[in-house]
């Protein structure tokens, strides 16, 4: 049992961490979008749980999508949900701070499914024992691929999936028509040939636009390219032996860097550090193709690009393995220190039941993680059908290792640096690629060596 002074020290520690650099540095204002439906007066009667929601759409839209679901939940159970949307740029920090502090003011949180294994290792999320999982509706109600990324292998899950996503190739139909290209590319060779045809620097138009400044997106793209070449992040399931210095890893990283030297990618891609910036560049016609997850559709469909773009699976290398996406998605977890665990479990059940799944995912242009909901015709129409097919047939889960979030940072930073060097022409070459990958590999090996 913790003594009082230990609890105080823990809380203070969390304060120090949040203050950013432990009183040694100035705090930083975040540009994180935040949104809340907290009542202005105090709530009387019934239980209230606090939910940190991940941001899946522009904030005004996001609120409109969530609110009816929260209202129905309150009507059915009498439990009020204090909903707070937390931007992706600070969500993980807030989660780690919450765990460090041991605070109990937040109950449920939306997490990127690739974080689940790392967060499970922190012991700060409530393990979903068979009994608790049964209260949510049982493992059987979920799509197996989505349920695969909910914790560490061999242990109770710490989350349940509520959104599934996949990666795809978005293309501008009008530009394709003007260039005389009838179908989207299926292989990377075709992709490069099409990208060259679509590039016209005089018109500031390029074959492709990416956000190579976004470490997370680059880690995912690199993971897909590496998987196509038969490589992987680790030689073992436990994640102790990273394999980023292989020839496959070199080739996968070089493919991204060479897009710049072959001048088929918008040079600005090297500076774009979020999918939002990439989406805007695609909407503005800076690139005829982009690689993104299906949630980009929410932005594109609210822009002049609506109806003018198509989607296809991400191309594969000739003779490569059929991996065109990682299994992307969002999970819901309960903080271990929550004082409202039963209410939180009820909330998880409600949100992952068929009705709420259909409503939420239709709104977000995403896929339900609930099997029955996924069969709803709404998710088999138009561009979503392409993503659904990818998710069910050619998406590969990322490694479920305790250090995965750091792995993603290391790998993404290496690819970002490689792309940056290629774009600026500063020291780009095989030596730089090898050096960046080796640095990431050494860092991950050191992390993985931690008991």
């Amino acid at each position: 049992m913790q003594c009082r002074w230990q609890r105080v020290a823990t809380a203070v520690g969390a304060f120090a961490l949040t203050a950013g650099v432990l009183a040694g540095c100035g705090g930083g204002a975040s540009n994180t979008p935040q949104q809340s439906n907290a009542p202005t007066g105090s709530k009387t009667g019934g239980e209230t749980i606090t939910f940190w929601a991940d941001v899946e759409a522009p904030l005004n839209q996001q609120k409109q999508i969530w609110q009816p679901v929260l209202d129905q939940f309150e009507q059915q159970t009498g439990i009020h949900v204090n909903y707070q949307a937390i931007g992706w740029d600070s969500l993980l920090n807030q989660i780690t701070t919450q765990i460090t502090s041991g605070a109990s003011d937040v109950d449920v949180v939306g997490i990127g499914n690739t974080w689940a294994s790392s967060l499970a290792a922190t012991n700060g999320l409530l393990p979903l024992t068979p009994d608790r999982l049964q209260q949510i509706g049982g493992k059987e109600k979920f799509v197996p691929a989505a349920f695969g990324l909910t914790g560490l292998p061999g242990q109770d899950p710490v989350a349940v999936p509520y959104i599934s996503e996949a990666m795809g190739l978005f293309y501008n139909k009008e530009m394709f028509q003007q260039a005389g290209i009838s179908d989207p590319p299926k292989t990377w060779d075709e992709f490069l040939a099409d990208a060259k045809k679509l590039t016209d620097p005089a018109k500031k138009q390029y074959g492709v636009v990416l956000d190579t400044g976004d470490t997370s997106d680059m880690a995912h793209l690199f993971f897909v390219l590496l998987s196509q070449k038969g490589g992987s992040f680790f030689a073992d399931q436990a994640g102790k032996r990273p394999t980023l210095t292989t020839s496959q890893a070199h080739e996968a990283a070089k493919f991204i860097g060479d897009l710049f030297t072959q001048k088929v990618i918008s040079p600005g891609s090297a500076e774009y550090n979020s999918a939002d910036e990439m989406n805007n560049a695609f909407i503005n016609g800076e690139g005829a193709m982009m690689i993104s997850q299906n949630n980009s559709m929410a932005t594109l469909d609210n822009s002049p690009m609506k109806g003018k773009y198509g989607v296809a699976p991400v191309p594969i290398f000739s003779g490569g393995q059929n991996v065109t996406s990682h299994v992307a998605g969002i999970d819901l977890a309960i903080f271990k220190n929550s004082q409202h665990q039963q209410a939180a479990l009820q909330f998880l059940k409600f949100v992952t039941d068929k009705e709420a799944q259909v409503e939420l995912n239709k709104g977000f242009h995403q896929f339900p993680a609930n099997k029955e909901a996924l069969n709803d015709p709404a998710f088999s129409q138009g561009n979503l059908a392409v993503f659904k097919q990818v998710l069910l047939t050619s998406a590969k889960p990322t490694p479920q290792v305790p250090t995965y979030t750091q792995v993603e940072t290391d790998v993404g930073s290496a690819i970002k640096a490689i792309a940056s060097a290629a774009a600026t022409g500063q020291n780009y070459g095989d030596a730089l690629i090898d050096q960046q990958l080796k640095t990431a590999n050494d860092d991950i090996a050191a992390l993985s060596a931690t008991p």
Binding site: L22, A121, E286, T409, K416
Partner: protein
Amino acid sequence: MQSRGLAWRLVAPALFFELLIHILPMLTGITMSFLSINQFNLANWLHAPFVGLANYRVGVSPASPIGSSFLSSIRVTFAFTALVVLCSVGIGLGAALLMNRPFPGRAVVRTIYLIPYAMPVFVTGILWRFMFLRNGAVNTLLVNVFHLADHPLFWLIGSNAFWSIVIVALWRLWPFCFLMFLAGLQAIPTDLYEAVSIDGGGAWAQFRQITLPLMRPVLSITTLVTTLWTFNDFTTPFTLLGSGLPASADLMAVHIYDNAFLHWQFGIGSAMSVMMLVIMLIFTILYNRALRVGSEVA
């Protein structure tokens, strides 16, 4: 005795909050720097293994990737701080001298000067990010309007990223210097200038013999404060470039944040924070001794 008790009671709330808000977190941070905190013990970090000075050794070891990048970050931060503070003080002083004499529209110009300082920092960062993007306003001016460059430059990646953060930090900071210096200038009695003038002294003599000596306390304090702020700057590089800064712009505050929050190496991040704190303390002590900041007031 009674008045002493009263004094303590009056000071007690301030003392309590000082301890709670500044001292306790700082001591906790120092404690964390001696522990090996990672995701496996995050929820119960008080029981993390004690590793003595190991985190400090990793932080300053040129042989380790973490150490070499941190040492490079210190160098970048020194260069950034020196440039931003010197230029801010210079521009602020120049602008204050210009604004010290009345002229029509002075109030309007003075207000315009203060806009960068009044703007929320993250708004400044985001606006400058848009302008520095490859297809943004900065390149449009350089390439299309003034023809100073043949092709658009990268300002947010590569070696130019350093100049981007310098420009934005300078843009934000100089109005503060201007404000401080203007207040200082307006406190100087005009008859002193008249006396120098009667003795045959020109504008330069007035500046050297009257303005600079009488402005010394304001100059010293402003330089000290702006140096500490700039050395600590997190928001400018973070909003402008995001996390994972290019090596050329890898300022310590964001570097430490990345180590602590993105790599979950909270012990190493804390050790780096303590080292940063020590650097600032040493600077402050040396600066105070050299210039006897504050003694002029007495």
